[in-house]
């Protein structure tokens, strides 16, 4: 038997080398861009920048109200999206059988995830503001209170946008609870709801939390949906109102007001700034804040998920 000397696989090595190179190339580009944002923006970051209002046509001052608006909107968004998403996932994983109807629901979730963000904006306008909002106004006789762009509708629209994220994360969390635990519970004579409540949900909590964090990150980064749902470039006041019972008043978020939003702010500054040279450092600063915020949220979610997957893997 003749054993030929091993031919060098030139084609193969070049191809694999190219593939490695593309990957490194992408990573390098990513770091360059992020680095640029960091370098240009870090100079502007200060407590004043983070808390103050914009001044002088955004050539000075800060992004405080935009940060506040982002927090307020995502907070309401989570209030809408998480209970709805978790309950949806519970139905799909614990109650539903594998039927045509269930497959349609799963398809809908995937489709919802693929709807363009600007279409969500149109949806928010056509459904929430013009239909629900106007309906509320008609029923409650409040004139033009609900039927216009407002924090409430922006949050609701974003909630629909992030719903698939919450559902998918929760499904993964529910699925990761071993079947044998459910069997043990049923074997002891527990009902389905008792099993879900006492055995499945507690173990699924980390996964649900991960989904919530990812949803917040996504909501905070979206601009297109809220363009005409109440985001504003400059508002003199924060969207807060006092909620008074008699003489006792607490300041609360006023969901019927317009709001400033960090992602929107960056957009307007970048495209409609009156004095680009003066505002440029602030633009970088605001962008840096948004990126850091997004990254922190995503990293937290990833670490969280990694740890709870590890714990389950060990069982």
């Amino acid at each position: 038997m003749e054993l030929k000397r091993r031919k060098k696989d030139y084609m193969g090595n070049i191809s694999l080398g190219l593939i490695r190179a593309t990957f490194i190339f992408l990573v390098v580009i990513l770091f360059l861009l992020l680095g640029k944002i960091f370098v240009e923006g870090i100079g502007v970051i200060s407590p004043e920048f983070l808390l103050d209002s914009p001044k002088n046509n955004m050539t000075e001052g800060g992004i405080g109200p935009a940060i506040f608006g982002t927090i307020a909107v995502t907070f309401l968004m989570i209030l809408f999206a998480v209970p709805l998403g978790v309950c949806s996932a519970i139905y799909l994983n614990e109650y539903a059988t594998d039927s045509f109807f269930t497959r349609i629901i799963r398809t809908s979730i995937n489709n919802l995830a693929g709807v363009p963000s600007i279409v969500f904006g149109l949806f928010g306008l056509g459904f929430f503001i013009l239909f629900i909002g106007k309906g509320l106004d008609d029923v409650l006789q409040t004139g033009l209170l609900f039927g216009q762009p407002a924090l409430l509708w922006a949050s609701a629209t974003l909630a629909v946008l992030v719903l698939p994220i919450v559902i998918v994360s929760t499904l993964e969390a529910l699925n990761s609870v071993p079947k044998s635990h459910r069997e043990a519970s049923y074997g002891l004579g527990a009902t389905k709801w008792q099993t879900i409540r006492s055995v499945v949900l507690p173990q699924a909590r980390p996964g649900i939390l991960t989904g919530t964090i990812l949803a917040i990150s996504r909501g905070a980064g979206e601009t297109a949906p809220i363009l005409f749902l109440g985001a504003a470039f400059f508002l003199p006041n924060l969207p807060i109102a006092d909620f008074c019972i008699g003489d006792y008043c607490i300041p609360m978020i006023n969901p019927t007001e317009q709001f400033m939003y960090l992602a929107y702010h960056i957009f307007i500054m970048a495209t409609q700034s009156a004095n680009p040279t003066k505002t440029m450092p602030l633009q970088y600063g605001a962008t840096l804040v948004l990126i850091v915020l997004t990254f922190l949220l995503n990293i937290t979610a990833i670490i969280f998920r990694y740890r709870f997957r590890k714990i389950l893997g060990k069982l």
């Binding site: 043990a184 519970s185 074997g187 002891l188 004579g189 008792q194």
Partner: protein
Amino acid sequence: MKETKIVVKDLNLYYGEKQALKNITLDIPAKRVTAFIGPSGCGKSTFIRVLNRMNDLIDHVKIDGEVFIDGVNIYDRSLDIVNLRKNVGMVFQKSNLFPKSVFENIVYGPKINGIRDKKTLDEIVERTLNQAAIWDEVKDRLNDNALSLSGGQQQRLCIARALAVEPEIILMDEPASALDPISTAKIEELIHDLKKEYTIVIVTHNMQQAARVSDQTAFFYLGELIEFDRTTTIFTKPSKKQTEDYITGRFG
């Protein structure tokens, strides 16, 4: 005087199109140990799950026939299955303790039945852990994570957990197959003690275990009940050739 606890008549079970159990008829006596033996895939695990209606949890399962416990047809449509499972306990092949403390695992059953009183719960925990012959080993570790116990201890804890809801019948699906010989011996001793008060049905692929532990043995093959008799008879003078071939190891 043998008292019958469970009567099975003409039971057929289908997974979709495939028939997994064919015309099973047998009587299971009370306060005795009945073993189900047979090669892999013969239907013994499927059949034991018929007795507490755990098969209901699987999609596409169809059951024909009747199963009576104490004269009650448990496949009656209006029967409260949740209540049934409180009275027919189950121990699984691999321990499926909840990731909670030892204490919390035991009291899970009583708690869902509405028992809240701390003193009662403590009593239940002590009683069942004693019954499962594990009290001395865990009495100082009641608040530790149940999964920190050894495999054999976990399985005995599963038995204690099943006992806490006070069933009359205990079904065991290969309870010792994942355990070392010493732990297995402890479980078998436990079964011997428990049969004074409980009706026990055990599935095992280990023939010697069946011979050691049971009073009656049923031999299953390809979904059919081939022979059912006193254990001593099955293992010394089986009346069917298939049984003899299995016992003597000609196939398995």
